[in-house]
């Protein structure tokens, strides 16, 4: 079947699944709805692979360069003859790569949830929401038009809200869902302003026309747009930074990272899908989409992105070393890794020789999806077995959950950057791009990689070692949960082998194949740093000891701040509760209740009632009163007429 048709099916099949499951959910048995959802995503994953094969090996390459291929595009809302919001599907190296990632991870999560969410009341709605999310995310990556991406961006936000707040009877889940939605929505305000500024400057919203108009040399749109304006940055840089603000919200960059740890209140498969592999990389994807404009016409913005990314990576890694809830550790790890991807884009340039960062970032996105999803699903298996999220309830589980243990170990090795696992290749690419472009960021990145290895293995040892091995009781948990084990195994295979894909020949900034450099001497240092981190973690946590407690007491101020996430949440709460609520919220509420409601609405109502009460006596039913009014009126009229006309 044709690739175009497959692309359209990929996009609309999850939407169909959402509609069917949500509208007819009550009539379908839960198991059937789970199977329907999973089957549909299996079809979508298969079709994505098919389209990817077709694109990368068949029709995508024109004269040695991968070009965009527009599957369909139609004008949805026409503002004037130049500006319109189009809807469409485009195939492009990064969008095809994202199609594979999203559909594959989503399929794994669907399969996993068959066992993990078994017995839940709203099982069908869960699958409906997962299908909605898949549709929204797929739509986001194939968007042709900046506004179309914004619409799907918001749809993704809604799906995330629904899924985080899935256990809506828990107040903490509701609060987390609200926080996620409000923070990302607030960031999307910047995104919208950025879109408006970009469309004003370039008079278009289509991605490719936008890129062409703002990067072609001698283009008339660039001149006024890139002149230095406010605070030394050009208008274009401001527009792009505002767009990046939206991406920073979704991708949990500092200081908009606060929602992601709380979003762990949702079910664990949801955390795996949304908050590890797909939705949170939407910000990175956005910057990658607009990368030519960033690199060619607004390099200052790119520098700022690089610094923010590097800072966030370090910041999140420090916090992750102190957390005790295993999902929170993974959440901060996600923030850190996405920051890696972001600063990799930030240090990249355009043109041969210095566009390594772009490819490295996309490569890391690809491999990170596999091992982070694997980590979350593994953590879900552990939580399912132990019924608790806290590290203190775990330990010594390596015999009780063997498959989980092995796959988790492989994922940890991958994220620590140990060769030959996938994470090694992608992290190396990022580090070498950073080394070539910006040395301070390189040092920060190496240190953060060490921290990454440390806290991931702290997590691993605390879960599976550090206490005497718990024996199987009877069959053990894993033999009942085939649907949880299979995704773990498949994702582990991805974490091992995905590194060997020659990514540079497929995805690069201009579309021409590049070779990701691989220097043995250069790679030694990060690998050594990673192995050191693993060693320290083994010493501290491999067996039960009180060494960690002693260390944390000796640097107790730093430790406590890191444990409390550097009090960022408290600062936000202070600003919102004390300042915004009291200064703006309370007066507005008072005004609304008393002036608008009381004065205008109730006042006009009671005024009308009083007035009507006053004049209703006029209809007394007494004939003579009516006649008197009649005569009075006649006399007045007659007087007027006679005096006027005589």
């Amino acid at each position: 079947m044709s690739y175009d048709l497959s692309s359209e099916i990929i996009l609309f099949l999850p939407l169909l699944s959402f509609l069917v499951l949500s509208l007819f959910g009550k009539k379908i048995k839960p198991e059937i709805s789970g199977i329907i959802g999973t089957m549909i995503l299996a079809i979508v994953a298969f079709l994505s692979l098919y389209v990817a094969f077709g694109y990368f090996f068949d029709f995508g390459k024109v004269d040695g360069v991968y070009v965009k291929h527009i599957v369909t595009q139609f004008s949805w809302l026409q503002f004037n003859e130049n500006l319109s919001i189009d809807m469409g599907i485009v195939l492009d190296p990064i969008s095809v790569m994202m199609l594979i990632v999203i559909s594959f991870v989503s399929f794994m999560v669907h399969l996993y949830s068959l066992n993990y969410m078994k017995g839940e009341d709203r099982f069908t709605m869960y699958y409906a929401y997962l299908a909605l999310f898949s549709f929204s995310m797929l739509g986001l990556v194939v968007a042709v038009n900046l506004f179309q991406m914004y619409m799907f961006w918001e749809l993704v936000g809604i799906s995330s809200f629904l899924l985080i707040g899935f256990y809506f009877t828990k107040p903490s889940a509701i609060a987390a869902a609200k926080k996620a939605f409000i923070v990302t929505r607030f960031a999307d305000l910047g995104f919208l302003i950025g879109i408006l500024m970009l469309s004003y400057g370039a008079k278009t919203l289509d991605f490719f026309v936008l890129i062409e108009r703002l990067t072609a040399t001698g283009s008339p749109y660039i001149a006024s747009f890139t002149a230095t304006s406010f605070l030394g940055l050009s208008t274009l840089s401001w527009a792009l930074l505002l767009v990046f603000a939206g991406g920073a919200g979704k991708s949990a960059m500092f200081p908009l990272h606060i929602w992601l740890p709380d979003a762990m209140e949702g079910p664990t498969p949801v955390s795996a899908l949304i908050h590890a592999a797909t939705m949170v990389v939407a910000g990175v994807f956005l910057v990658a989409r607009l990368f030519p404009i960033f690199a060619i016409s607004a390099p200052d913005a790119l520098h700022i992105i690089a610094y923010i990314g590097a800072f966030t990576a370090l910041f999140a890694a420090i916090i992750a070393t102190t957390q005790t809830d295993i999902k929170r550790v993974l959440a901060y790890s996600t923030i850190s890794q996405i920051a890696f991807m972001m600063f990799a884009l930030g240090v990249s340039g355009w043109g041969e020789g210095n566009n390594e960062g772009y490819t490295a970032s996309m490569f890391h996105l690809f491999t990170h999806a596999f091992f982070k999803a694997l980590l979350f699903l593994g953590a879900g298996a552990v939580i399912h077995a132990v019924h608790s999220n806290e590290m203190k309830d775990m330990g010594g589980l390596r015999k009780a959950l063997p498959i989980t243990h092995i796959t988790f170990l492989m994922a940890c090795l991958a994220i620590a950057g140990v060769p030959p696992f996938a994470g090694f290749f992608s992290k190396e690419a990022i580090l070498s791009a950073a080394y070539n472009a910006n040395l301070p960021i390189f040092y920060v990145a190496v240190f953060t990689s060490g921290l990454t290895a440390f806290y991931m293995f702290r997590l691993y040892f605390r879960i599976f070692w550090s206490k005497p091995a718990v024996k199987h009781e009877g069959h053990g948990h894993e033999s009942h949960t085939w649907a949880m084990n299979i995704p773990l195994i498949i994702l582990a295979a991805g974490a091992v082998f995905a590194g060997f894909i020659p990514f540079g020949s497929f995805v690069s900034a201009e579309g021409k194949a590049i070779e990701l450099p691989f220097h043995l001497m250069f790679s030694i240092i990060p690998v050594l740093v990673g192995l050191t981190g693993i060693l320290i973690a083994y010493v501290l946590y491999g067996k039960k000891s009180d060494l960690p407690a002693k260390i944390s007491n000796s640097i107790s101020f730093v430790y406590q701040s890191a444990y409390h996430k550097f009090y960022i949440d408290e600062i936000y709460l202070f600003v919102t509760k004390k300042i915004l609520f009291n200064l703006i919220g309370r007066p507005s509420a008072w005004f609304d209740k008393n002036v608008v409601n009381g004065g205008m609405i109730n006042g006009s109502a009671s005024g009308t009632v009083m007035f009507s009460g006053a004049i209703k006596k006029m209809q007394s039913g007494r004939l003579q009163t009516y006649a008197m009014f009649f005569l009075g009126g006649v006399l007045i009229l007659a007087a007027l007429l006679v005096i006027k006309f005589i």
């Binding site: 209703k616 209809q619 039913g621 004939l623 003579q624 008197m628």
Partner: protein, 104 residues
């Protein structure tokens, strides 16, 4: 009768008219209200006849109008009496202030 100026006749009819109106406003018994209405109609009749005699003596229009008004007044009184009797049977009173059911 030619020495009586027309205006005097008209003043007579005006006084009668406004007496009838005063009675219509003030009387409480329905039948006395009816009687006041008859006064009003008669004042109009005097008007017509006077104008006919003084200003248009070559025509008989005033007489005809008066004729018709008298006829119709008769019909109207009979109907009004029928209504009053019906009302009296129902409410046992013909006080005009007791017929105020069509009010707020």
């Amino acid at each position: 009768m030619e020495q009586v100026p027309l205006s005097h006749v008209l003043i007579l009819s005006s006084i009668l008219f406004f007496l009838g109106i005063y009675g219509f406003f003030t009387r409480r018994n329905l039948i006395t209200v009816l009687m006041s209405i008859e006064l009003i109609l008669n004042s109009v009749n005097i008007n017509f006849v006077a104008f006919n005699k003084y200003l248009y003596p070559h025509q008989l229009e005033g007489v005809f109008f008066t004729l018709f008004i008298i006829t119709i007044a008769a019909a109207e009184v009979s109907l009004a009496i029928a209504i009053i009797i019906n009302l009296y049977r129902r409410f046992n009173t013909i006080d005009i202030d007791d017929t105020d059911t069509m009010k707020y």
